[in-house]
Amino acid sequence: MAERPEDLNLPNAVITRIIKEALPDGVNISKEARSAISRAASVFVLYATSCANNFAVKGKRKTLNAGDVLSAMEEMEFQRFIAPLKESLEVYRREQKGKKEARKDKDKKADSEEQDKSREEENDDDDERMEEEEQNDDEEVDN
């Protein structure tokens, strides 16, 4: 599955931003230097992937996982990346988990809010309460 060269490049704007943030204020980058760094970054991904894949194969797994990538960093002598990468991974995992739970919570909350409303209005209009319950049912169906 041959990819066109453009597909294997990382976006210039992002690369440039990362470079600028790594360097002191007032420092510029020539177009050639930026382009060379961008290509180096692509090669880095390819090389790291290849390394990581070796670990997956050794573990008799068909799917590359985060641990394989960390092992690859070790192998490539980028050990100093490992700690910050682990931290980032923790945050990423919490975010992913949070997203799932936020979705669940949102649905639960919506349901219980509907139920609370109907309880409050129990003494009032019966019709209204039935309306609430219908809405409640709709929400469940959506789930």
Binding site: M1, E3, L8, N9, L10, P11, V14, I15, R17, I18, I19, E21, A22, L23, G26, V27, N28, I29, S30, E32, A33, A36, I37, A40, A41, S42, V43, F44, V45, L46, Y47, A48, T49, S50, A52, N53, K62, T63, L64, N65, A66, V69, M73, M76, E77, F78, R80, F81, P84, L85, E87, S88, L89, Y92, R94, E95, K97, G98, K99, A102
Partner: protein, 114 residues
Amino acid sequence: MAGAEPGVAAAPPAEEPGSGSLCAAPLRLARLPLARVKALVKADPDVSLASQEAVFVLARATELFVETIAKDAYVYAQQGKRKTLQRKDLDNAIEAIDEFAFLEGEFLVGLILF
């Protein structure tokens, strides 16, 4: 490790213990688009599948790599009393630093051509 409670989603706090790492916002999620990184991963014929986490870690690692190589190259610009990073600074850094050996010559050509 960070004392955040599980299930608390939302943006990572700016300061967390042990965050004195390579860049200003070490716990920021990847800026490189994961889809592009994934395209590079898939370009390897030996790789069948990669988990989303693996792609994320690769993206973050690549960002750290870009920071690192930019800083290392900048040392040479400083030596040349320049405030503009040039291609030759990159070349010097790659030649001088062992970890960047994979960027040199044949290996590079081999990877690009698959």
